[in-house]
Symmetry: C2
Subunit: 352 residues, 2 copies
C-alpha cells in the first residue's frame, strides 16, 4: 500500500454558517497536515473574511489552479469563484446557498476526476441551496445521484462508541411506517454489512436491528411491522450469512447499553437513531454516507446560524470527519489488496 | 406538617419477574425503614420463595391483618392470598398475571381507604394480567380509571438530571401523528405544569416541548404538525402564563444537552422520550404517573424475565421510585399548607 498522504477535498458549506470556522480551527493544528493534504473548494476572499472575523492573524493558504501541483505541506485553496461575496453571518441568504453549491459542485467534479481522494463536506442549509442544479433534500441524496443509484446509500452516524445506520431519513413521522418495506430494510442491512467489512475492517460484523414501534411492538399489541416485515428480513439475511439480530425495543436497547455488544445498529427512522447517537456522542459524531463509490463524511452538526461568527463552534466533529474519511480510504485500499490477492491475507499460514 | 413516617404501599408485580427481588434488595438496607414504613401487598409464602431463591437467610417480615396496626419498624406484609402458588421464574404464566392483579387490587383498595399514603408498583406483564377485572394497556391506564378520568394523567419519567412527559404512550408509530391533537398537547402541558409546581415544588416551571418530526419539521419540509398543531398550542398556553418553549428538534435538543435549561420536557411519543431518558438515566430512572389524585411511582424497568431469579437485578430504580413517591407526598402536603394559608408562604415579606 502506498504511503502517499491522502488528499482531502473540503467543501466550505454555507458561507454564513459555522463551516469555515470549523475548517480554519481544524487546520490551526499543524499536525493535521502530517495526516493529510487538504484542498478547500471555496475562495481566498471568503475564507479570509472568516479568518479575520475570528480574530486569527496568522493562517496562510496556498492558492492552486492545477490539481497536479497540490502543496502537501499547506492548506490548499481552489478558488471556485473570484468575486467578493456579501457574507451575512448567521443568516439564511440566497448567496449562502449559491456559494455552498459552487463549492460542492467543484469538489464533486474533482473527485470524479480522481484528483482528490476523499470528500469532507461542511454543512449546508437545505432551503437556500435549492436551485436548478440542486433539487435534493441534502448532501446524501445529491451524492447518491452522482456516485450511486437511488436507495444505494445509507446514512450512517459514527462515533468512538457506536455506529448507527438509518432505514429512513428525512421522512415525517406520519409516513415512516409506509416508507418501511422488507426490500428497503434488506438493502440497508446489506449496505451496512458491506461497509462494516470493507470500510471499517470488521471481518464478521454483528448488526442489531431495532424494532419500529414502542417495545418493538410488544408481540403485536403495539404494531405489527416487527412481525410482518422486520423479523422475516432478519431471518432471510441470516440465511445469507449476515449476523443480524433483533428486532430490539429501542428504549431498552440504549438504556441497558446493549449496543456495546454489536458492531453497528440499524434504526428504522431518523430520531430513533439520531436521538441516542447525539445523546451519546455529544459533539464528536460523524455522518458517513455508506454505499457510494466515493468516500464522503461530514460533521454531525448543521450550519448553526445561532452561533455563526461568534467563535463558539467546536471543530471536534469536523476534525473527526477528516480522520474517519482517511481511515476508510486506507481500509478500502487494504481490503482491495487483500481480496485481490488472498494469499497475502495470512502470509504465515500460507507458507508451503 | 406532621413528621409521621410515610406509609408506602408496594405491589409485588409479576411473581415470575424481578419485582420481589428488587423489593427484598431495597429493604435489605435498614436505613430504608427510617425513611418510610413499607406495606407489601402479596404473600409471605411467595416472598419467602424469592428470598430463599436469592440465597438470603435473614430477612423478616411482619404479617399484618389490620391496617391500623402497621409496625413502623418492620417490612409489613399484607397477605392478599393464603395459598401456595406455583412460581416459574422467568416465564409468562397465567398465575403470574393473576397474583400480580390480586396484589394491585388490594393495594388500590387500601389507598382508596387512605390506609397507605403512596403506591409504588413492581412491574407486571401486560399480556398475562389481562382478565375480566383488568382490560388495560398497563398500570397507568388502570390507575387513571380508578383515580382520575380518561386522559387526565401523564406518564412522566423522572431522574436526577431530567424529567420527561409523554403526549402519547403505547401507540404504534403508524398512529402517532393521528393521535396528536391540540387539545391533548394542551392538556398534557397543563398536567405537567401543575405537577412541577405541586409535586416537585418548582414555582415557575420552564417546559420544553419537542417537535414531532425530524428537525421539528424543518419549516414544513418534513411534516406540518409543528406549524399546524404544536406551535399554536405553545402560543396559547403562553398567554395563560405557562412558560412552554419550542418545538425543539429532538436530536439536537438532547445532543446539545439543551434539556438542562428546562425543568421538564414534553415528548410527542414514547420512544422520543424514553430513548434519551433511558440513555441518560441508565437504570436509575423512575416512572411517575402525574395527574392522579393518589401518588404512584414505579421503576423504569419491566419484569425482566431474562434475568428473573438470577440475582442480577439492580434495585436502584425501585429504591429511587420509593424516594420519589415520598418526596412528592411531602411536597404535595407542603403545597396544600402554603396555598391554604398564603401568609405562611413568605413570612418575612408578609410582616405588617
Amino acid at each position: 500500500m502506498s504511503d502517499k498522504k491522502i488528499i482531502v477535498g473540503l467543501t466550505q458549506g454555507d458561507i454564513n454558517g459555522i463551516g469555515l470556522e470549523v475548517i480554519i480551527k481544524t487546520f490551526m493544528d499543524p499536525t493535521m497536515l502530517e495526516l493529510c493534504t487538504p484542498v478547500l473548494f471555496g475562495s481566498q476572499k471568503t475564507t479570509s473574511y472568516h479568518r479575520k472575523n475570528l480574530g486569527i492573524e496568522e493562517f496562510s493558504f496556498n492558492p492552486i489552479r492545477d490539481f497536479n501541483v497540490i502543496n502537501t505541506k499547506r492548506v490548499n485553496i481552489f478558488n471556485c469563484y473570484e468575486e467578493e461575496v456579501n457574507i451575512e453571518l448567521g443568516k439564511s441568504t440566497e448567496l449562502g446557498g449559491k456559494y455552498a453549491l459552487k463549492s460542492l459542485e467543484s469538489a464533486v467534479d474533482t473527485i470524479q476526476k480522481k484528483k482528490i481522494d476523499v470528500l469532507v463536506t461542511a454543512p449546508i442549509n437545505k432551503h437556500n441551496i435549492q436551485s436548478e442544479n440542486f433539487k435534493f433534500k441534502g448532501h446524501t441524496e445529491y451524492l447518491e445521484q452522482k456516485f450511486g443509484e437511488p436507495g444505494s446509500s445509507l446514512m450512517m452516524m459514527v462515533s468512538e462508541t457506536i455506529k448507527i445506520g438509518l432505514v429512513t431519513g428525512h421522512v415525517p413521522v406520519e409516513k415512516i411506517s409506509s416508507s418501511i418495506t422488507a426490500e428497503k430494510i434488506e438493502k440497508k442491512i446489506k449496505i451496512l454489512h458491506k461497509s462494516l467489512i470493507e470500510d471499517f475492517g470488521i471481518r464478521k460484523p454483528k448488526i442489531a436491528v431495532l424494532g419500529l414501534n414502542p417495545h418493538a411492538g410488544d408481540e403485536g399489541t403495539i404494531g405489527n411491522e416487527e412481525k410482518d416485515i422486520i423479523i422475516p428480513v432478519i431471518k432471510k439475511v441470516n440465511t445469507e450469512n449476515i449476523m443480524a439480530y433483533g428486532p430490539y425495543s429501542a428504549d431498552g436497547f440504549f438504556g441497558t447499553a446493549t449496543y456495546k455488544k454489536f458492531d453497528a445498529v440499524l434504526a428504522m427512522y431518523h430520531d430513533q437513531g439520531l436521538i441516542p447517537f447525539k445523546t451519546l456522542a455529544f459533539n464528536s459524531g460523524i455522518n458517513y454516507t455508506a454505499g457510494l463509490s466515493i468516500i464522503r463524511t461530514s460533521p454531525d452538526h448543521g450550519t448553526a446560524y445561532d452561533i455563526a461568527g461568534k467563535n463558539q463552534a467546536s471543530e471536534e466533529s469536523f476534525r473527526n470527519a477528516i480522520y474517519l474519511a482517511c481511515d476508510i480510504y486506507k481500509m478500502r485500499n487494504e481490503y482491495k489488496e487483500l481480496s485481490a490477492n488472498p494469499l497475502k491475507a495470512n502470509p504465515i499460514k500460507m507458507e508451503r
